[in-house]
């Protein structure tokens, strides 16, 4: 009961805050711009003068977007599934932002973590309650180790993390490709780069596994890991000494240094934490969604995560909701592409527009002619110069 009361309190608080209205209006504005894009790109219909038909497409596309993301249990499960790695990578980028570091390397860290988790996943054969936590832990450690590299380089030599993480992303891609061709990882009967299968007890259990005849509900326990990660991140940031040091370091590195904080250690730790969260995302994908690894199992998630962290202003709840929103768009976008002739790439445009509108409350205010309290934006991170 207590949980319900707390949840209701949170819900009430969110509904009252101007940032909720702001988000709603930003989403709405993005949808309006998106509608124009759908209509204007419908060259065939426009050439035939069928403007009404083009506008109808907008309706059916957006309807599919809603149905495909929250319209059924299956859709909700797809949303959760898409959101899981986004939440974890979002937290990864967010924790680095809080310490004033720009982690573009979530992709590489995700690959490293995923490969580590995968190894535990196929090398062991149960029992599940040992293997799954072990594999997830391996994922976190693998990601943390890979994330530590740019951290150490920055702390020891000052090498900028924007450069090093981009380079490490590219390297991770080739490393994974190579690993997938080694005897250790490659599936026995295959010649293409594809990994062995995770053994049956090693899979992250499916969230809706209790429903017998619904194999289409693909959401898995990685979502629970993601929620736990958000809680840990929230506790860490607001309640722990190191979290305080992270924030102090992120706001003013010099002041933190003069206050006696070990800024070099903080740099390494921040990148390790970031890598760990991204590694969890990799293990969730490998152990939950795919059950094996192919060359590009990280996809664009690491880059989407940057937008998510920016959208959620790096706060725990903000990042969570931003990732859920992005996940819903992803799931709905697939439905939209299947039902209409509108390509799924539209959702990338919508995401960009949402981020832009939310970041510019003054613009929203001007468009909708409403009063929005100017929420303090602050800076996402210290900039590139430090």
């Amino acid at each position: 009961m207590k949980i319900v009361v707390t949840l209701r309190k949170i819900a009430e608080r969110i509904a009252r805050t101007s940032s909720f209205r702001l988000t709603l209006l930003a989403v709405l504005s993005a949808m309006v711009v998106g509608a124009f894009i759908i209509v204007l790109s419908d060259i065939n219909k426009l050439q035939n003068g069928d403007i009404l038909g083009a506008i109808k497409t907008v309706g059916s596309a957006y309807w599919a977007l809603v149905i495909g993301s929250v319209g059924s249990l299956r859709a909700i499960s797809a949303t959760i599934n898409s959101a899981t790695p986004l939440i974890l990578c979002g937290v990864s980028v967010a924790v680095a932002f809080k310490a004033g570091l720009f982690n573009i390397g979530a992709t590489g860290q995700m690959l490293a973590g995923g490969m580590a988790a995968l190894w535990v996943g196929f090398a062991m054969d149960g029992p599940g309650f040992v293997q799954v936590p072990l594999a997830v832990l391996a994922g976190a450690l693998g990601g943390a180790a890979y994330g530590a590299i740019p951290g150490i380089l920055k702390a020891r030599t000052g090498a900028h993390e924007v450069i090093t993480t981009i380079m490490l992303n590219n390297m991770a891609g080739f490393l994974v490709l190579w690993l997938l061709k080694t005897n250790l990882y490659q599936r026995e009967d295959r010649t293409d780069p594809i990994s062995k299968l995770v053994t049956a007890p090693g899979h992250l259990p499916r969230l809706f596994g209790f429903m017998d005849n619904r194999p289409d509900l693909i959401a898995h326990a990685g979502f629970v890991v993601a929620i736990l990660a958000v809680i840990v991140y929230s506790w860490f940031l607001n309640r722990s000494t190191t979290g305080f040091e992270f924030r102090a370091f992120g706001m003013n590195a010099d002041a933190a240094q003069y206050a006696g904080m070990h800024t070099k250690r903080l740099t390494v730790m921040a990148m390790m934490f970031a890598g760990g969260f991204a590694g969890l995302a990799g293990s969730a994908e490998v152990l939950g969604t795919y059950g094996y690894a192919s060359q590009n199992f990280a996809g664009n998630i690491g880059y989407d995560a940057i937008a998510i962290a920016l959208l959620g202003r790096s706060t725990p709840l903000g990042t969570l909701f931003a990732a859920l929103l992005f996940g819903a768009l992803q799931a709905g976008g697939r439905q939209m592409q299947a039902n209409t002739d509108v390509p799924i790439d539209l959702i990338v445009v919508l995401r960009a527009l949402i981020v832009m509108f939310i970041a510019a409350p003054l613009l929203i205010k001007a468009i909708w002619r409403i009063k929005v309290e100017p929420t303090s934006l602050g800076q996402a991170f210290r900039g590139q110069g430090s």
Binding site: L153, A159, I163, M167, A307, R351, G385
Partner: protein, 413 residues
């Protein structure tokens, strides 16, 4: 004054000493790699310079001699240091190392060295122009993460406009798109005071999404909107007759000549004109510049738009200078490489040019590597350029400091 000097001087020299040490260590490490990895393959490597002449390098002896020299240089650096000459020594050492690496990879065969250098120059064009766009923005205090989006958007515009109205119109279309995307960056970050990193990333996603969307929805149904004949290389009279260099530098498309001109113009204007002084001032300390009568807001707007135009030409390189069409995400992260080149080159056009050439060389080597049989997994060879960048950034470039005011909105009061 002297008290400050007394405090500052040892700090600087400590930093410099550390830097010098890591340079020395890196030279030694390169030497060891040369000795044990590059020296393990017998056989001669042919570097084809011109059609009639192949320069032969015996891979193994070359690598061993290089190893000795590198270790000696490293030891000298560690013991005494080359002072002013450190960077020159380093540059020569790195170039020789690359040649040794190529000799190792090609031992027992031959490849077109000149062709590879030509590829290097060609492929560095969008990175150079993207980096110039980044520098012009950031020097005036606006962080430009949106280079990738500007390149991608203008590549799309260049392809479509170029297919419909010819390549020259295509370049203009690309410039217009670059300026338009830059205008978004300018308005949001200067007028609406949005965090510049956020807008930058949003523009990247916007450009990626919109171009992919339009490519999937429009270009697949209308392939005639997406086909044009790219500009042909122009051999500059006299200059192009110089052996090797003539092919590498002076038998290129207009994009290459434009890129080099852009570097020259950017360097000269940044450091020798009123505009440059003001630009650097509003990037470092806009309040002071504002107090002295510089219209910070207006200059920032103008510079961001100029940057967009430069990036627009860089984006046009794909459809009009290279492949003759647009594909989804054709830039494939080159804008982020350009961003790395900005930092790598320490916000200086010439520095960014050299960084861009390194990345261009990496791409060119990757292209060549697929034809050479080296016995080690190709993935590691493909990884090498990024690893080298990592080592170079960590070992030599070190702590880089950008324009001080970059990222901060300006209040005119």
């Amino acid at each position: 004054m002297s008290a400050v000097d007394a405090v500052v001087a040892p700090l600087i020299s400590a930093e410099q000493r550390k830097q010098a040490r890591s340079v020395g260590f890196t030279l030694v490490v390169l030497g060891i790699v040369a000795a044990f990895v590059l020296g393990n393959r017998p056989g001669d490597a042919g570097f084809k310079l011109v059609d009639s002449y192949i320069f032969v390098i015996p891979a193994q002896p070359f690598a061993r001699i290089l190893a000795l020299v590198l270790i000696a240089l490293g030891a000298a650096q560690l013991l005494k240091g080359f002072g002013k000459w450190t960077n020159v020594v380093l540059g020569i050492a790195a170039a020789t190392f690359v040649i040794s690496f190529l000799a190792w990879a090609a031992s027992g065969g031959s490849f077109s060295f000149t062709g590879m250098l030509q590829d290097t120059v060609t492929r560095s064009v969008p990175i150079i122009l993207g980096a110039i766009a980044g520098i012009v923005c950031e020097r005036s205090g606006i962080i430009n993460i949106a280079i990738e989006g500007q390149l991608l958007g203008s590549a799309f515009a260049g392809a479509v406009v170029g297919s419909l109205f010819g390549p020259w119109a295509g370049i203009l279309g690309a410039i217009a798109m670059g300026v338009a995307l830059s205008a978004i960056l300018a308005v949001f970050s200067i007028r609406y005071r949005v965090d510049q990193v956020i807008v930058g990333f949003a523009i990247n996603f916007f450009a990626l999404g919109l171009t992919s969307f339009l490519a999937a929805r429009v270009l697949t149904e209308h392939p005639d909107y997406n086909i044009l004949s790219p500009l042909r290389p122009i051999a500059l009279p006299l200059l192009s007759d110089i052996p090797v260099i003539g092919v590498v530098l002076f038998t290129q498309t207009l994009f290459v000549y434009f890129a080099y001109m852009a570097v020259a113009i950017a360097t000269w204007s940044l450091y020798h004109t009123k505009w440059g002084l003001r630009t650097r001032a509003i990037g470092e300390y806009p309040k002071a510049a504002g107090t002295l009568g510089v219209d910070v807001i207006k200059l920032r707007y103008r510079n961001v738009l100029i940057a967009g135009a430069v990036a627009g030409v860089g984006g046009a390189w794909w459809p009009i200078g290279m492949v003759g069409r647009f594909d989804q995400n054709i830039t494939n992260g080159r804008g982020f490489i350009a961003l790395a080149a900005v930092i790598f080159g320490r916000w200086h056009p010439v520095g960014a040019l050299s960084a861009a050439l390194v990345f261009g060389l990496a791409e060119a080597i990757q292209l060549k590597m697929s034809n050479l049989d080296t016995g080690i997994p190709s993935e590691f060879l493909l990884m090498a350029p990024y690893l080298v960048t990592l080592v170079v950034v960590a070992g030599f470039v070190g702590r880089s400091r950008g324009p001080k005011a970059a990222g901060q909105p300006y209040d005119a009061q």
